[in-house]
Amino acid sequence: MSDHHDHPDMPDDYSPEGLAHIHPYAKPFLFLGKESVKRNFIWFPVVGLIIVSIMGFFFPPKHPAPWDFGFSWAVIGFAAYTVVVLSAEPLFRLLAREENYYGEEEAPKLKNKGDHYE
């Protein structure tokens, strides 16, 4: 089974038909579209976070805030990001309306879009 999560109407990236539609510069980076790569992307920030959190104890901030400790900005970053993402669902329920709610045509969808490979 393919490790890709392609669009249902598109051929597999690595098939000859699929490769014909890929930009030459993108071909070495097709692995970025693999599900396994997407799934394991988390290890990149995990490793980075561990390293800089440890370093935080050895290089404390020169302009510290009262709450600062070795990995305080990591805690703030994670908490802030999580709050923003978790707020999305209730906010969406509260603020989302159908498209063209105001009765004006939305952001221009170009009639003469640029050249396609197809």
Binding site: D6, H7, M10, D13, H21, I22, H23, Y25, A26, F29, L30, L32, G33, I42, F44, P45, G48, L49, V52, G56, F59, P60, P61, K62, H63, A65, P66, W73, A74, V75, I76, G77, F78, A80, Y81, T82, V84, V85, S87, A88, E89, L91, F92, L95, A96, R97, E99, Y101, Y102, E104, E105, E106, A107, P108, K109, L110, K113, G114, D115, H116
Partner: protein, 592 residues
């Protein structure tokens, strides 16, 4: 007329914005696209050269123009204004390259007039000159919105309404302020205690996107043409930032307004589907950092603001350009319809990632060396007498920094170039777009370079208004900034794995503009309907009143009426006699 011309030519140094405006006016009459494009490219270069030539001392004053009792100073170049002038000209060059494919006379001329007006405004030495070019930026730029096609007309009208109001407030405040100073309208520090200052602040606040006055940004920018959005993202709000930095540095209120500006757009950006609108919210968020820095007002903070303006113009243009390139090829900028475009547009994807990294303030990219000055100055301000409220502001700035990482650092590139494959197999962006994006990306790297001798952040710092020793590349700063960014990336990956990260859904997200676009419009419709009904009823009431009064008069004065009846025939004579007697008594009393 000859006096005006004589005045103009005797001004000596003249505002570099004038030649850019003149080039824009010329564009209207040039039918050949290639010549127009050359003018669009050369005019900002000429403007930049002129600024460089004229800035010969710490403060250059010129273009003095006596108009009746008003003494206008149309040119004042100093260490604060010059950085805005240079970056506007640089942005003009990038925009010209990016829009090279667009053969549109209106876009070319309005872009130049708009840019020229912005340059002229930052070099204005008095509030009246500022007002003139302030309004010219609004009037000239609305055509860029209207070129966006269907649905952009109403947004353009609303944009004009906001900006004309802003100008009127600025003028009203300027007149009060100038009159209180005996007719001196020179534009320097104003402060909130000066007469008319609140009106001026409000006028500037509309243009810089204060909370509840910000909606014109998210309303109009995504509806403009592809090139138009890129151009719009540069000038208007930065001009307003300059005006605030000139008139209200160190105004404490701006610290809190700025802090709120950094935070609230984050929540809207996370649920917005239109990625150009996400970038418009991101613009608001970044403006908040700069407004906050102006409020702090220390030399470090003001340097941070000026530096952030430079960096922000470049990386925000880059992000809007990359979304413009995507829109040019795919036809939409909606996250729900994009994805996987790194396969077709890998170069654009790399440029977008550099812009995203810059705005998120990754080390070695532009935002890192400028935004950190504002945050450090906020921490300093809190440490030395700012009090608990200032620490809350510092927390808000850190929260917003993680928020930037969410919407501009991750969401925009992720949903456009990665995420699920949207099935679009398109060509890479046109060469001119790639060149413009490439230059902007190179500048993002160049301006943050820590390597001595080849430009880098020290070169940028040397252009800032104050001489302040600041090194962004201390180990502690790099480490703690990376903590924030890695933690945000980890949170993204973790929440995505848990299935908590929201999918992009098509929707219209309500913001404060609902109050006038829906509530206000409905109230206006209701009032109109009531007025129509009242008018109809009023017409009936008036008709019946006239009818009754007519009949009464008919009854009294017609040949068959009461006054013509025979029986009280002596009554009119009696009444006339009484009136005559009354008049004679009055005259007699008055005479004696």
């Amino acid at each position: 007329m000859s006096d005006i011309l004589a005045n103009f030519f005797s001004m000596g140094n003249f505002n570099p914005g004038f030649i850019i405006i003149l080039a824009g006016l010329l564009c209207i009459f040039i039918p050949v696209s290639e010549i127009r494009k050359a003018l669009v490219l050369l005019a900002p270069i000429a403007g930049g050269v002129l600024i460089f030539q004229q800035f010969t001392s710490a403060e250059v004053i010129g273009g003095i123009w006596q108009v009746g009792p008003l003494k206008l100073t149309t040119l004042r170049i100093d260490s604060l204004a010059i950085i805005w002038g240079y970056i506007f000209c640089l942005a003009g060059v990038l925009n010209a390259i990016f829009g090279f494919h667009e053969k549109c006379k209106i876009t070319d001329s309005s872009a130049l007039i708009y840019m020229g007006a912005a340059v002229a405004a930052v070099f204005a030495g008095d509030l009246i000159t500022l007002f003139v070019f302030w309004e010219l930026t609004a009037i000239s730029s609305v055509f860029l919105i209207w070129k966006g096609g269907d649905g952009s007309f109403q947004a353009g009208i609303r944009y004009l309404a906001y900006h004309v109001t802003s100008g009127v407030l600025l003028l009203a405040g300027a007149v009060i302020y100038g009159m209180s100073r005996g007719g001196d309208y020179s534009f320097n520090y104003i402060g909130l205690d000066a007469p008319g200052a609140w009106l001026i602040l409000l006028g500037m606040g509309i243009k810089v996107g204060f909370p509840f006055l910000h909606n014109w940004i998210q309303d109009s920018y995504p509806k403009a043409s592809i090139t138009g959005t890129v151009i719009l993202s540069v000038f208007t709000t930065k001009l307003a930032l300059y005006a605030l930095a000139r008139g209200f540095p160190g105004t404490e209120l701006l610290i809190y307004i700025g802090a709120i500006m950094t935070c609230f757009p984050v929540f809207f950006a996370v649920i917005e589907n239109d990625l150009r609108k996400v970038l418009a919210y991101s613009l608001n968020n970044q403006l908040g950092f700069m407004v906050c820095g102006i409020g702090i007002g220390s030399q470090l903070a003001m340097n941070g603001v000026a530096g952030q303006v430079v960096a922000h113009v470049i990386f925000k243009s880059l992000l809007f350009m990359s979304m413009g390139a995507v829109m040019h090829r795919v036809g939409t900028a909606k996250a729900s319809e994009l994805g996987g475009l790194f396969r077709s547009m890998p170069i654009t994807a790399v440029f977008c990632l550099i812009g995203a990294g810059s705005i998120a303030a990754f080390p070695l990219l532009a935002g890192f060396v400028t935004k950190s000055m504002i945050i450090t100055s906020a921490i300093d301000h809190a440490s030395y007498g700012g009090g608990p409220a200032m620490w809350v502001v510092v927390l808000m700035l850190l929260f917003a920094s993680a928020g930037v990482m969410e919407h501009s650092g991750i969401k925009v590139p992720h949903f456009t170039f990665f995420a699920h494959d949207g099935g679009h197999r398109v060509k890479e962006a046109p060469w001119n777009m790639l060149v413009a994006m490439g230059l902007a990306a190179a500048l993002c790297i160049f301006l943050a370079s820590p390597i001595p001798g080849i430009g880098g952040y020290k070169w940028l710092y040397s252009m800032l208004p104050y001489d302040v020793e600041y090194n962004p590349y201390t180990t502690d700063h790099v480490v703690f900034q990376l903590q924030l960014l890695f933690a945000a990336m980890f949170a993204f990956a973790f929440l995505k794995r848990q299935g908590v990260y929201p999918d992009e859904r098509k929707a219209e997200i309500l913001d404060f503009d609902w109050t006038h676009r829906k509530l206000g419009a409905n109230i206006a419709i209701w009032v109109g309907a009531m007025w129509t009904r009242l008018s109809a009823n009023g017409a009936n009431v008036r008709a019946s009143f006239v009818d009754v009064a007519g009949r009464r008069l008919q009854q009294l004065f017609s040949p068959a009426g009461a006054f013509s009846a025979a029986s009280p025939s002596g009554l009119p004579a009696l009444l006339t006699s009484a009136m005559l007697a009354f008049a004679m008594i009055v005259i007699f009393v008055a005479a004696t």
